[in-house]
């Protein structure tokens, strides 16, 4: 379904949703930092900056309770988290690189055991993607097969028009339901021209070649040369829209407390450290290798997808200037 919406009507839509009690998550400024966060009003939404952290938090929070416990004498009572408490959500203004990561994450949270924390939120969330009109040096979505106008992961996709407003295209029943419910805010598309979209300046990687090289180069001197300088801060994993490794920890006292699922990072030394003192990834290059392998080989082996959407956040943030796009490009060139 194709429609058009003015900026004013988009704002009206978001304000209506907020008034109805839905959680509307969009890029907004929090203490100077753009982040995807729940809006109090549509006026808070910004469209000109890529949030510092990705959109995955709408489904997979940085830190979340998965149960609580209470102890009395020798008896323990556990209280489950009722998934009914996850609010109906509209995630809006999501960049294609963030929206595309959501179906990628579906794979891991739904294969075999079902993670209801992710999947319930997913079920209750409508994703409204927004095409990108600007890109910076770090953007490389086009290199991993996506683009500034890619609708992957979006239920409804907005493309900005010259002179204001957006073209809207639906890609799922959820998108259509939303438009049908608030029909009066949408108009039939006319021939308005869209604003020229961003053009990230990277060549397309041959992901098959990248994987082929990784298939046969677990041991290679290149790992030392690219990652000896990695400080293991884990920032790359924390800003990544597709990284999903987590820790399970108890917070509380012996009497009562909560069990939580917290983001973790394979770059941390402690991640694979055995209680015996043995650590299979005892050096930083081995940990960085796991990051690349997981994204461009293991996830593909298991789920047939690449665990990277080219958002470039890890490149922008890395304190020692490790550039995953440059590393992967180099790898693709090594493979015949």
């Amino acid at each position: 379904m194709q429609k058009q919406i003015t900026q004013q009507n988009l704002n009206a839509l978001l304000d209506t949703l907020i008034k109805e009690g839905k959680r509307v998550v969009a890029p907004r400024i929090n203490a100077g930092t753009p982040l995807y966060e729940p809006l109090k009003s549509s006026a808070e939404m910004i469209t000109d900056q890529l949030p510092k952290r990705s959109g995955k938090e709408a489904f997979f929070p940085l830190c979340e309770d998965i149960m609580s416990y209470e102890k009395e004498g020798q008896q323990i009572t556990l209280t489950d988290i009722d998934p009914a408490r996850f609010p109906e959500t509209v995630l809006v203004g999501v960049r294609p690189c963030d929206a595309a990561a959501v179906p990628v994450l579906d794979a891991v949270f739904s294969w075999d055991y079902k993670d209801e924390f992710f999947l319930e939120r997913r079920k209750k969330t409508t994703v409204i993607g927004l095409a990108c009109t600007t890109a910076d040096d770090a953007c490389f979505c086009t290199a991993v097969g996506l683009s500034p106008s890619d609708s992957k992961g979006s239920d409804l996709f907005l493309t900005p028009l010259e002179g204001g407003g957006y073209n809207c295209e639906t890609f799922s029943e959820k998108g259509e339901t939303l438009i049908n419910k608030y029909k009066e805010l949408f108009a039939e598309p006319d021939n308005a021209t869209t604003i020229p979209l961003a053009r990230p300046q990277t060549e397309t990687f041959d992901l098959k070649k990248v994987k082929a090289w990784l298939d046969s180069h677990f041991e290679d001197p290149a790992w030392d040369s690219v990652a000896t300088r990695c400080v293991g801060c884990g920032a790359c994993a924390f800003v990544c829209p597709a990284c999903h490794c987590f820790d399970i920890v108890d917070e509380g006292t012996e009497k009562s407390g909560k069990r939580r699922k917290n983001w973790d990072a394979c770059g941390f030394w402690k991640f694979t450290h055995h209680a015996s003192g043995h650590n299979p990834r005892d050096q930083q290059p081995k940990r960085y290798r796991n990051r690349i392998m997981h994204k461009f080989k293991y996830y593909d082996d298991k789920f047939g997808q690449t665990l990277c959407t080219g958002c470039g956040r890890c490149i922008r943030l890395c304190p020692v200037g490790i550039d995953i796009a440059a590393i992967v490009e180099e790898i693709s060139k090594k493979q015949e």
Binding site: I66, I81, D112, Y113, D247, I248, T253, T272, R281
Partner: protein, 282 residues
């Protein structure tokens, strides 16, 4: 508990500590009985599978289920106190509550072992993952040929399941070879003295129609595999378990992988052939 309890894959079952047994000064067995009647009746597992055990307030730890699936109504775990969670678990007393999630992972393909001879090779605290299988096989004794158990620890005091070692020693249908490292033997020691791989080589079990099941610290495994090869075992005749650090046990948290193999889902039981095909990341 709300009625979504069966949907939250991270929510443990509660069990009561029925018995506490000190195996060594820092290794303890807990015998556990599920509190919910329905769980008690329905909980079933296979030898080789593991579970996540909760000490609430400290967290979860991964241990194999050390009792045999043939022994119903309870499960046992056996662990060394080495850190935060295991220290807390060690504080538990009979009547206390514990959380258990599982069973997880694959298991020993016991049906494939029917009609074959079995050689168990274990070192130190790594007897529990084989002990579940040993009892499973002994409880179905007719289905197997000769059973040999080679078990060693650094010192006499470090041997776990001491009373069961005596029981196996007495049985005419089991050959037990126990050993301690040189210097680890006291005046009363009636077993061998020497490292597990050396003692295994001397015991020289035949490889014909035999499977070997090996669990132990990495260094023991490293020196045991060549001995088995020398004795004529092919890599498909040898099984072991991997113990990469785990959190979820469910193939989600991304912690336990060796290359593209998720130890919590594809393992923890592997043949030597499978392990040799993996990158060195365990």
């Amino acid at each position: 508990m709300c009625d979504h309890s069966n949907q939250n894959i991270y929510l443990p079952h509660l069990a009561t500590v029925a018995e506490v047994i000190d195996e060594t000064p820092d290794v303890r067995t807990l015998k556990l009985v599920f509190q919910d009647q329905q769980v008690r009746d329905s909980f079933s597992f296979r030898a080789g599978q593991f579970a996540e055990y909760s000490a609430f307030g400290a967290g979860e730890s991964t241990f194999c289920i050390a009792s045999s699936p043939t022994r119903k109504g309870y499960i046992e775990c056996c662990f060394r106190a080495v850190g935060r969670v295991t220290e807390e678990l060690r504080r538990l007393e009979p009547g206390d509550s514990i959380g258990v999630r599982g069973p997880y992972g694959n298991s020993f393909p016991i049906e494939e072992f029917y009609g074959k001879n079995l050689v168990f090779v274990a070192g130190g605290i790594a007897l529990p993952p084989l002990r579940t299988l040993i009892w499973n096989c002994l409880d179905l004794r007719d289905k197997f040929g000769d059973i040999t158990i080679v078990y060693g620890a650094r010192t006499e005091a470090d041997l776990v399941y001491k009373r069961e070692l005596q029981e196996w020693e007495k049985r005419s249908d089991v050959r037990l070879v126990k050993t301690v490292d040189p210097g680890g033997n006291g005046p009363e020691w009636d077993g061998q003295v020497g490292f597990v791989p050396t003692v295994l080589e001397q015991a020289a079990p035949s490889a014909e129609n035999t499977v070997a099941l090996v669990c132990g610290p990495p260094v023991m495994i490293k020196f045991t595999l060549p001995v088995l090869e020398k004795l004529g075992f092919s890599d498909d005749q040898v099984y072991t378990t991997l113990e990469n650090r785990m959190k979820c046990g469910l193939g989600k948290c991304g912690r336990c992988n060796v290359g593209n193999v998720y130890v919590c889902k594809d393992g923890p039981v592997f043949t030597a052939r499978q392990v040799k095909a993996m990158p060195l990341e365990y």
